[in-house]
Symmetry: C2
Subunit: 311 residues, 2 copies
């Protein structure tokens, strides 16, 4: 298991599901914390297929309130109640989420009794918020409906402890070594002061995941994506359908790639693929994007990708 | 293709989906008319897997407003809009359906523009209503929430035309024969009057499908199921869990079988199977029911069953 985290693409389609692509949902682990980006119809079953217990999901981040991004919420939340969940679940997203969920409860007469925290926002920017193993912030994107992109940053992790150097300096095994790893200087029995830098390498670069769908290429997405490790970006259409992308406030593969290049990301995932692009045409999107930004991947349902891995 | 009709089990589980059983949904064709009984999360994808275009669905009959029976409606209705549907879709079920659908439209800001007719009822009995290739009526069942069972009756079909007898009687090929098939007497050129009974056999027995979930065994279900060809009935639990069935207002396999026997149905399908019963335990349900009523089948996701076929 990758220590940093993992992405699991549960659904990578757009608007209309197909047998190849479910509607948008991405499961993410950062450190020990699991969350979802969007929750389309069928997400609870996709999680099962990936052997990820929904009970482990602590947070759900909703981009916007179009049906293809939220129609899996009622089922997942209800199933968690039936499965006996007692711990908190946080849902984050634009204003209207609470009304949506209250409406469902009222119609079905089925109350959620575990602590369900709905966090709504409406400002152009929101966060960063510290959620334990990661921080999150959101920026408004450019879509036909109020829609947010999210950036998830790992917490800084300690650098590598140099065992050999520690032995050479005569630092005994025990709490002193742990203190050094956590950035504290220690004083040995013989009175020598040891600074962490002597035995602990520099902290590894923070890995960041950015999730931007549905949107035109925009400043909000570019800002969020700045030097991120992984950008998952709207790529609904091929270049030939750019006019359609403009009309429907989505992006083409080329536009996603251009934004990835401008933002200096490491890896781009084309996401939210229109069902008019079959498997062969999906390859076209990939080629179009790679001509602009080499480190591009085409997202696929059920693809698992370590957060540490580069394209 | 069976001329009478066909059942396609899209989901046969209960409350919590599993990888073996989706939540309840049954696609039915009677004559040329397609409809759904319940519409659980994932129904639109299950239809695709069965190569049934959702555009062909003319009616959706909802048993009750618990989430596992309706959470596929928002996605299916929205997708039909996106797919350019222009013809009518009728949804039938208990009061509250319209509020549910209006709430979804309001939250997503996405209006359904094709003619969507929502028919709500709250009386203990409703119908029969003539819907072209079949008639439907509903009775209140016995569940923790207002819940309806449905009976679908084929229209009477003409009997078999006896070609040999027609030749012997000198009835020319043409509209006269068609009139006879449709029950009208004709007069031949030589003045002889021919009554339909001379060349047309008795009409085949009307096939009826009855859908009763979620419910305790009750008078409503028994009345609906009277001498039906096929009864699809709640069978959430095994006999060992009868107390649980009573507490949750569901039925055991044995109770479903007893009701099928009392009602004189031809074939019983055990349906709405709790996910605590795995494949082996599903066989236990079947054995328990068959001891009471031999013509019992265990429903399975993706099972197709001609309306004409007997267990």
């Amino acid at each position: 298991m990758d220590k940093t985290g993992e992405l699991i693409f549960l659904g990578t389609g757009a608007a209309l599901p197909s047998l190849q692509r479910n509607l948008p949902a991405l499961a993410v682990r950062m450190g020990a914390c699991w969350f979802l980006c969007d929750c389309s119809e069928g997400t609870q079953t996709s999680l099962m297929r990936q052997q990820i217990s929904a009970a482990r999901i602590g947070h759900i981040f909703i981009s916007h309130l179009h049906g293809d991004h939220i129609f899996g919420l009622p089922g997942l939340l209800t199933s968690q109640q039936l499965a006996g969940r007692e711990h908190e679940l946080h849902i984050w997203g634009p204003e209207g989420l609470a009304v949506f969920l209250a409406g469902i409860e009222s119609v079905t007469g089925y109350a959620i009794r575990y602590p369900l925290q709905v966090h709504e926002f409406s400002a152009p920017e929101w966060g960063p918020v510290d959620l334990g193993d990661f921080t999150v912030r959101a920026d408004l994107l450019q879509h036909s409906r109020f829609c947010y992109g999210y950036r998830f940053d790992e917490k800084e992790r300690p650098g590598k402890f140099d065992e050999r150097q520690a032995e050479a300096l005569g630092i005994p095994v025990g709490p002193g070594r742990s203190a050094l790893v956590h950035g504290q200087a220690i004083v040995l029995a013989d009175g020598r002061r040891i600074d962490p830098a002597k035995v602990v390498g520099p902290p590894p670069a923070i890995r960041s995941l950015v999730y931007c769908t549905d949107t035109r290429p925009c400043a909000g997405a570019r800002d969020l994506a700045h030097q991120a490790a992984i950008l998952v970006h709207d790529s609904t259409f091929s270049h030939a359908l750019q006019q359609r992308a403009i009309e429907t406030t989505h992006s083409t593969a080329v536009e996603a790639a251009q934004l990835a290049r401008e933002a200096g990301v490491e890896t781009l995932f084309l996401y939210h693929i229109s069902n008019r692009h079959d498997e062969a045409e999906g390859e076209v999107l990939l080629q179009e994007a790679r001509a602009m930004f080499a480190n591009t991947r085409l997202s696929q349902d059920d693809l698992r990708w370590p957060l540490d891995r580069k394209a």
